[in-house]
Symmetry: C2
């Protein structure tokens, strides 16, 4: 049983970069979302509210896509937001398969209140990096994100 991994430089680079990527992502997420605890919101719930706040009423599948989540998951998260009266489900008239999500007054008030705090948390979270470094990081992440995208074709041809 090896005590630590010994591979080629290539391999060690990839593994160690991945670990740092994940840790950065998790620590930044934790730090920037800590303020949500006061409002009893989860990161996912905040994501839905923010999406509706900035893009207006959308159907669940759209919101799921924007937040990189499954529609099944969206059902659960929206259930919990609806229980608290922060969003409303509205069945579409034109296409009755769709359910359009709307912020309620309470939901709008809440997200309008916390979004500025969220922005400031983000600025603070990234403040260890200069503007140039943030730009570099964004560029590198963009490349990585694109090249690892899921193969979106769902050819069901059995």
């Amino acid at each position: 049983m090896p005590i630590s991994f010994h591979g080629s430089k290539n391999e060690k680079d990839a593994l160690s970069t991945y670990v740092k990527l994940v840790r950065a992502c998790e620590t930044v997420t934790a730090a920037t979302h800590r303020h949500l605890v006061d409002k009893k919101l989860t990161v996912s719930q905040f994501g839905v509210l923010e999406t509706l706040y900035h893009l207006g009423p959308l159907c669940q599948a759209e919101v799921a896509k924007k937040n990189l989540k499954s529609t099944a998951n969206m059902t659960t998260v929206v259930d919990n937001l609806e229980k608290r009266g922060l969003v409303e489900r509205v069945r579409s008239r034109e296409d009755r398969r769709y359910i359009t999500l709307h912020l309620t007054d309470a939901g709008l008030q809440l997200i309008a209140e916390i979004f500025p705090v969220h922005v400031q948390s983000m600025v603070k979270g990234f403040s260890v990096l200069t503007a140039d470094e943030q730009q570099q990081l964004a560029e590198l992440c963009k490349k990585l994100g694109i090249s690892n995208q899921i193969n979106c074709s769902r050819r069901s041809r059995p």
Copy 2:
């Protein structure tokens, strides 16, 4: 209700960099762990097996810390690994609070089989970046990760 966010450059940079960071992390994780499906392993279960594989028997709290998870969560993940006979819980003699986790023969065989595949997936996942770019990314992520670390003091003074 705003249609999109208009803030200072500072604010837009932080928000957009964060989105790219999260997407990169999620797409790379999904791509590099896809091979686990064949073995019916979750990412968390793989994380535990890998930790034990490379560091040898450890107590649950140690494994939890290495994987950035809570001990409560570790209980669940280890339960599932134990059910499948991949790890064993061994109560420590010296300090009976501790439970040391050991890979079983089956667990060792499994992780030894899939770890090389995992490494190759990682190399492939990062292959869009040059060695220099990976180094830059690692450096930036390291800074971010460190500066956003949780304040570890848990002063319980009510």
